[in-house]
């Protein structure tokens, strides 16, 4: 801005000096000059001032030239009086021509500036478009890479199940023949299958590509199904269930199977860490627009090293994923978040750990027959 002002002031000073110098030169030879000569010289100066200094300078130089023309070159000299009425025509013609010249230059400069601005804008838009195209191309490449990765993992997870089924069947035959190593083969085959499935699910969760069937599901149904699955995995485990007596009909907005998976994971973890003979507790309560499932045990609690990386993949510690793949809790954590909920933990009063699974409540009202 300052540079522009300095530039305009310089042009103004220059053209005023030129006007003064030209006037002095013309005055010195006033007797031999015609009014037309003066008019041409002044017109050139006004044009130059308008072209270089803008409309304001053009007007100022026009006004000065007008006055100088009248004062020095129209009789009687050295006064602003105009004796001959025809000189008024000359003077008015000069004034109008000078004004129009200033205006014209201003218009041309304005249009040039506008044209440059548009051109700059177009260049900016073109650059932005090129940038967007590049980013879009990169995003497409990333998406294609993610799809390819997902397909490979899905294919691996799918294809690995058939040979594992055959391995399990062979292990069963070995067990029938009295080979007690067969159980180990079956367990490891299962673990391999779970690992493949978990890696696929973790990959989908991290890419936001996990398909979830989120709909109102009844809490008691979820709890019953979780206890049913836990009983199959840990038949001797005792679970104390505390439901929310204030809300006998309680629904969560969640995917049934995946929420069940999280609950079974938490219950199974708790069962593994609870000392023999101590029950684990599953308490469910509505808290505003959330339903909280609390799974508590009287185990040794979480070591500090485990706490920091509890929900990170492969962060296996004493409390890591129950599936033996080191992915159980990290998948549970992401599944909770993917359903608009959260999975957290707190140390339990009196010893042990409490995991809290929070999910959005679904408002459902009992129908009367």
């Amino acid at each position: 801005m300052m540079a522009v002002l300095r530039s305009r002031a310089s042009w103004a000073a220059l053209w005023i000096v030129v006007l003064a110098a030209a006037t002095a030169a013309l005055v010195a030879d006033r007797g031999t000059l015609d009014k037309a000569h003066v008019t041409v010289v002044y017109f050139i100066i006004v044009t130059g001032a308008s072209a270089t200094g803008g409309r304001t300078l053009g007007f100022v130089v026009s006004a000065l030239a007008f006055l100088a023309f009248d004062f020095f070159f129209l009789p009687p000299f050295n006064t602003l009086v105009v004796r001959d009425p025809r000189d008024w025509i000359v003077l008015a013609g000069f004034g109008v021509a000078a004004f129009l010249t200033g205006q014209l230059f201003h218009q041309v400069r304005k249009e040039a500036a506008e044209s440059k601005r548009r051109s700059d804008e177009l260049a900016a838009v073109a650059a932005e478009r090129a940038n967007l195209l590049e980013r879009s191309h990169e995003a497409e490449q990333e998406a294609a890479a993610a799809r390819a990765k997902d397909e490979v993992l899905a294919s691996l997870s799918h294809d690995i199940r058939t040979p594992i089924t055959a391995i399990r069947a062979l292990a069963h035959d070995l067990a029938q023949g009295g080979d007690d190593r067969a159980l180990g083969i079956e367990e490891e085959a299962d673990r391999l299958s779970r690992l493949a499935g978990n890696v696929l699910d973790l990959s989908r969760l991290e890419a936001g590509a996990m398909r979830l069937d989120v709909q109102p599901n009844e809490v008691e149904d979820l709890v019953g199904a979780a206890l049913h699955q836990l009983a199959a995995a840990q038949p001797t485990c005792k679970v104390d269930v505390v439901l929310d007596s204030r809300h006998p009909l309680l629904f969560v907005q969640a995917d049934f199977s995946q929420t069940l998976r999280v609950l079974v994971n938490l219950l199974d973890n708790a069962a593994r860490h609870a000392p023999a003979g101590t029950p684990i507790e599953l308490a469910v309560a509505r808290d505003g627009d959330r339903v909280t499932f609390r799974v508590s045990d009287r185990g040794p609690g979480l070591p500090e090293a485990v706490q920091r990386r509890l929900f990170e993949p492969y962060a296996r510690g004493d409390a890591a994923g129950t599936s033996g793949t080191g992915l159980g809790l990290s998948i549970a954590h992401r599944l909770a978040a993917a359903q608009g909920g959260a999975l957290t933990w707190v140390p339990r009063d009196g010893g042990g750990t409490t995991f809290l699974l929070r999910l959005p409540v679904a408002e459902v009202h009992e129908t009367k027959e």
């Binding site: 055959a166 269930v241 049934f256």
Partner: protein, 237 residues
């Protein structure tokens, strides 16, 4: 819906359909000692032909067949009037299980399954196929008795009042005792159509039934949830 019972079905025959020879071998070995004859094939078209020609009591059908999609084979077998269909699937998503059951499969086992699990499913399906419609008689499930003729329900000898919808629901489940019915199959059987809140209605009525018939509604032993798929009525062991 009623149990399918076709007089031409050969109760002593099982058809195994899988393109993986190791899986066919594993299934065949699992069936040894059950007294059933076994026929095998590795494609969907051949499975449909074999079913039409030999009428096996049970078809163990792999979903990943090279010639025809497994779910299509399932539909065609069901349209032929097949016996029980047990599907073997390497996929674990609920939507596929629901689609299979809706297409006429009676049960499914996901890979990798254990021999013991497969044997249990096969026994249950063959037993079910031979049984009369339990809703024509009085059904005893542990300490619950359901007399569909009167109708009268008792728990530990005490009469339990069931609403009209609850009777329709328990009757549908009892007619397919031990078999998982999808939410859609239950809606259609009980309500005749699926309205906007059908799933929620179903869950509310299942909850009410459990509170009336189960010894502990939080640990249901009779009315079991198949996660993401539906419900089944089980006879306590």
């Amino acid at each position: 819906m009623r149990l399918r019972s076709f007089p031409w079905v050969r109760q002593d025959l099982v058809l195994i359909v899988d393109d993986e020879v190791q899986i066919r071998r594993a299934v065949r070995r699992a069936l040894e000692g059950t007294g059933h004859g076994v026929v095998e094939c590795d494609g969907g078209e051949e499975a449909v032909e074999l079913n039409a020609a030999q009428h096996p009591a049970l078809i163990i059908l792999d979903l990943g067949l090279p010639d025809v999609p497994g779910i299509e084979v399932c539909r065609r077998l069901r349209a032929q009037g097949a016996g029980a269909i047990l599907v073997l699937s390497a996929r674990h998503d609920d939507a596929e299980k629901v689609a299979l059951l809706d297409a006429g499969a009676d049960d499914y086992v996901t890979k990798p399954f254990s021999t013991v699990e497969l044997q249990a499913r096969v026994r249950a399906l063959l037993r079910r196929a031979r049984r009369d419609d339990p809703t024509e008689t009085t059904l005893v499930l542990g300490n619950v008795t359901l007399d569909f003729a009167k109708p009268l329900a008792t728990l530990g000898g005490e009469t339990v009042h069931l609403t009209k919808t609850e009777w329709a629901l328990v009757r549908t489940l009892a007619a397919h005792l031990g078999r998982t019915l999808t939410h859609k199959q239950l809606w259609t059987a009980v309500w005749g159509y699926a309205h906007g809140d059908a799933a929620q209605h179903l869950r509310v009525h299942v909850r009410a039934l459990r509170r009336k018939l189960e010894a502990d509604a939080v640990r249901p032993a009779l009315l079991v949830t198949e996660p993401g798929v539906g419900y089944r009525l089980e006879k306590p062991s």
